[in-house]
Amino acid sequence: MQTRRETLKQSAVVAGLLASAGLIPQQAAAYEKVAFDAKTAADVTKALGAGAPVESKDVTIGGPDIAENGAVVPLTASTTLAGVKRVLILVEKNPAAMVAMFNVTDAVEANFATRAKMGQSSDVYAVAIMNDGKAFFAKKEVKVTLGGCGG
């Protein structure tokens, strides 16, 4: 177990390492703004230069059937397909559909989890974008309930 002070000390070192590898500036330049502004799954994949997404049983979206609070909805996206380049998590009825985009390398599994804000009940998507530009998706409905007490 690492103490926080050790973490702090190493933080500067690691940041320096990543910066010297040219990582941070590269990422900033590559931010997919158009994809993050898109309203639908099809528009998202188009903005990312991929084809229209096709439903696939080899892609999995995980999440609760009912979210007690839309501010934090745990979602997982994964695929068993070989040759996957990116894994996306989308919420259809949000102001912009894409929540997060994970770039897959050989060193990680195509299996990611994060938590999303949802303004209302909606379908949520996992989308796998392949190296050849094809896109596959899975979806499920997540109901968002009202909070207590109306306040």
Binding site: T145, L146, G148, C149, G150, G151
Partner: protein, 218 residues
């Protein structure tokens, strides 16, 4: 301010100990008094929520005592509270009890109003779904109060304006306006009596419960 409140318990203990003799607990009445003093010293005004809200009327004082003792309130005290609260009910002008159930549903859904974060004078909600099941469509409902689904239908109200419905219509109005008129220590807020809902809003809630067209009675 803080120092003052913190000294209170020590002072309170010292005072009652002096009265009661060393190391014996203060009496229940002394603790009642001390509790009220502690409450007074522990709260401040914020927004529309002023410290005068801590003043207990007879109904609240007697019910609190009964709750602390873990006993039901004494029958004659209960009857007196119910009579006093019944007398305070304001009945609608011209016998017009029923409003629009669609408005009633909105009021039932809203839990807003009268907290220190609500703007003074903003429209209040009824808080109804917090404690009651009402329409079947809303699955997010509380269970502190009984289910009100099919409220009118169950009671045979086919026409809330018909004379045979008068008794249940009047009871329902009275219960919403001042619940303590029928049950001295009811936990239900006194929506009309305490100015939480307007007469018009109560009519809309009445429609939600009693209008045969309301989703409650489907």
């Amino acid at each position: 301010m803080k120092k003052q409140t913190q000294l209170l318990i020590a002072a309170g203990v010292a005072a009652v100990v002096l009265v009661a003799g060393c190391s014996s607990m203060p009496s229940s009445a002394e603790l009642d008094k001390l509790s009220q003093d502690v409450a007074k010293a522990s709260f401040r005004d914020q927004g529309q929520a002023k410290v005068d809200r801590l003043v207990l009327d007879d109904a609240n004082l007697e019910c609190m005592k009964a709750d602390v003792a873990g006993q039901p309130i004494a029958e004659p005290v209960a009857k007196a509270i119910e009579a006093a609260n019944f007398a305070s009910i304001k009945w609608p002008a011209g016998g017009q009890y029923i409003g629009d159930w669609k408005e009633g549903e909105k009021i039932a859904q809203s839990g807003r109003g009268m907290t220190w974060t609500d703007a003074a004078g903003s429209e209040n909600g009824g808080n109804c779904y917090n404690c009651h099941q009402i329409s079947k469509e809303e699955i997010s409902f509380g269970t502190l109060g009984p289910s009100l689904y099919n409220y009118g239908k169950m009671r045979g109200v086919a026409n809330p304006y018909a004379p045979e419905s008068a008794a249940i219509v009047q009871y329902t109005w009275g219960k919403i306006w001042n619940s303590r008129a029928y049950n001295a220590c009811s936990q239900m807020p006194r929506a009309g009596h305490k100015g939480i809902l307007t007469e018009q809003q109560v009519k809309h809630i009445m429609a939600l419960l009693l209008d045969p067209k309301s989703p409650v009675n489907q």
